[in-house]
């Protein structure tokens, strides 16, 4: 997956303005339509204005749908901006990454055990060096393990975000515009 937070933010802001503009046009259009009933009244006008009322509600629904999708993008932004600005990751690769970390940790563990097995009394001239190496390896092991845990948490967090978004976006349903002109 690839997410550009900055670009999303800019585009969502532009979308917000476009929806506002659309709302204004919608209000103006149907205001003129409803005002027309004051100067047009004949055998056809009643049905026309009844249909316009239905149509107005349909159009209002599409504005609501646009607001919903904009809110979902807003949620995507607020979730992912805590992680970074440009995120590029393969969530499915989590187990592979963990496995590589584990292999590396095993190798460090092996080196630590070798260090431990060296009889320091036998090699007094390098004993301080071996002790230092041992301490260094222990530190690397702890840091790598911590990094692995944080990476796993990050993978899980992103997966959780994606699941939440999936739940919302898969429920998005657009009301179809039926031909309400029939019989006018």
């Amino acid at each position: 997956m690839e997410i550009h937070i900055d670009k999303l933010k800019t585009t969502v802001l532009q979308l917000e303005h476009a929806i506002e503009e659309y709302e204004e046009i919608y209000m103006n259009f149907y205001h003129v339509v409803s005002s027309s009933s004051f100067f047009w009244n004949d055998e056809r006008s009643k049905k026309f204005f009844d249909n316009m009322y239905i149509e107005k509600n349909h159009v209002k629904r599409s504005i609501d749908e646009l607001h919903t999708v904009k809110e979902i993008y807003g949620e995507i932004i607020s979730n992912y901006e805590q992680i970074g600005n440009r995120i590029k990751v393969q969530l499915k690769e989590k187990n592979n990454v963990v496995s590589h970390f584990n292999q590396y940790l095993d190798q460090i563990k092996l080196c630590i055990s070798i260090c431990k097995k060296i009889p320091l009394a036998t090699y007094p001239e390098v004993s301080s060096l071996i002790s230092r190496e041992h301490a260094q390896l222990m530190k690397i092991y702890e840091e790598t393990e911590d990094l692995k845990d944080r990476l796993v948490q990050l993978f899980d967090r992103m997966q959780e975000f994606e699941d939440q978004i999936n739940k919302k976006v898969s429920q998005l349903q657009i009301q179809k515009m039926t031909d309400i002109r029939e019989g006018v």
Partner: protein, 97 residues
């Protein structure tokens, strides 16, 4: 039923509706463009749902535009029908005089 048509006001209303209809068309184009752009900044397994939403929204915008076009034509038809009748009545009155 009390029937009436104010020719001038109806004509004015049609003019305004034509203008809003045109503005709306431009607004729809830019909205669709923005919706499509968003799916290029958010590429995940969920993007397909947004793509579907965008396609459906585009169809809906087209339907809204077509319906409103028909609404305006309906009003224009009423106005031209009224003008024709008015002309005939005026002609008949002239002939009678």
């Amino acid at each position: 039923m009390d029937q009436f048509i104010d020719e001038i006001k109806l004509e004015g209303a049609i003019g305004k509706l034509r203008m809003y209809h045109k503005e709306e068309s431009i607004c729809f184009d830019s909205t669709i463009k923005l919706l499509r752009e968003l799916t290029t900044h958010y590429v995940t397994e969920n993007t397909i749902f947004f793509d579907t939403f965008n396609d459906e929204m585009m169809s809906k915008f087209r339907a809204i535009q077509m319906n409103q076009q028909t609404d305006i034509e309906q009003m224009e038809k009423t106005l031209s029908g009224y003008r024709e009748t008015k002309k005939k009545v005026e002609k008949r009155l002239e002939d009678m005089i």
